[in-house]
Amino acid sequence: MNFLERFFGNKSAKSAKERLQLVLIHDRTDLNPLVLEALKDDLIAAISKHIDIDPASVRIEVEHEGRSQRLIADIPLRVTSRRRMG
């Protein structure tokens, strides 16, 4: 471990844990980053048919509770709605 790694706390166990967290999500649910991206695009398309959202602010992620996991979609609504403007 060199000085910089020590300074920034970049230890191998930390990266092992982070990598494992992602691998386990995939192993447990068949969700990989590509599937998540595709799902997000479909969600944005579906929701945009009904309400006006900003595609760039949509986030979708997997959350854990014990050994169970859930898919969380965070879809901020635009501040000004058309109705008020009209």
């Binding site: 471990m1 706390g9 191998s12 166990a13 930390k14 844990k17 494992l20 691998v23 386990l24």
Partner: protein, 264 residues
């Protein structure tokens, strides 16, 4: 007496299943219990040498299942601990010579005479694994604080969840406290965080494990070695005792391990 059936499995190979079975068996037998170990690794028999009983094998599990001997005849009695027995795996037969229902039948036959039946599962998730978990009341998953071992443990836990088996418990074997302190080995916290099943044992890396297996005398027979102590503690926890985890590192690690105190 009605024995409890404990299966030790792991997913990944070489993480310490056989070592664990031999040591826990010895520890339980030292406590005066009647214990029989079954080597579930057909074709890759190993528990016999780790226990130092390899020269006394006449019959094996396939002989029992196929009716060539009575169960009793295939049970090798450990002369050092007269209440400890081994049913060896067959070395030359293929894995399919035994089925999950054969294992259930065999365990049901042994249950009334024993306190504990310990099954050493082979690595992987195939037939030998299926056989080994078929009769289990409790499953212990052995892992090492290392990426592929943890990943494979998770896979096995997932399979057991799907089968609606009782939630398994985890043994973290070959922990090196110095590497953990340096940040170069997953800690007990990390492994628990990832797998989220109850931790029943933390066993340090200990060269005495290899010495003991060379001698065919499981480490838990000896009073001093750290790993032997860790295995004896697992045996006590199986018996329902509350035993704090070993102070593997008198400074930092202890505080972090403390919170996984064994709960029944």
């Amino acid at each position: 007496m009605t024995a409890k059936v404990i299966t030790v499995t792991s997913g990944k190979g070489g993480v310490g299943k056989t070592t664990t079975v031999a040591n826990i068996a010895v520890a339980l037998a030292l406590g005066g219990k009647k214990v029989v170990c079954i080597d579930g690794d057909i074709g890759l028999r190993n528990l016999d040498v780790v226990m130092g009983l390899e020269n006394r094998i006449v019959y094996d599990i396939v002989d029992i299942v196929e009716g060539r001997c009575r169960t009793r005849q295939a049970m090798i009695r450990d002369k050092r601990l007269p209440e400890l027995f081994l049913i060896p795996a067959a070395q030359t037969r293929d894995k399919n010579a035994v089925s999950p229902s054969d294992m259930v039948r065999l365990c049901d036959e042994l249950r009334p005479e024993m306190d504990w039946i310990l099954i050493d599962s082979p690595a992987g998730i195939e037939r030998g694994f299926r056989n080994s978990i078929a009769a289990a009341d409790k499953i212990l998953i052995v892992t090492n604080p290392e990426m592929s071992a943890v990943r494979d443990a998770d896979r096995v836990i997932g399979l057991l969840e799907a089968e609606e088996k009782n939630s398994p418990s985890l043994i973290i074997n070959r922990l090196n406290p110095n590497l953990v302190k340096r940040g170069d080995m997953l800690s007990v916290d990390d492994v628990y965080d990832l797998l989220r099943i109850e931790v029943i044992g933390i066993v340090p890396e200990d060269e005495n494990v290899i010495v003991a297996s060379n001698k065919g005398a499981p480490l838990s027979m000896e009073a001093k070695a750290r790993a032997g102590q860790a295995f004896r503690n697992i045996a006590r926890r199986l018996n329902g005792e509350e035993v704090p985890f070993l102070d593997l590192d008198s400074h930092s690690l202890w505080d972090r391990i403390g919170k996984f105190g064994w709960r029944k």
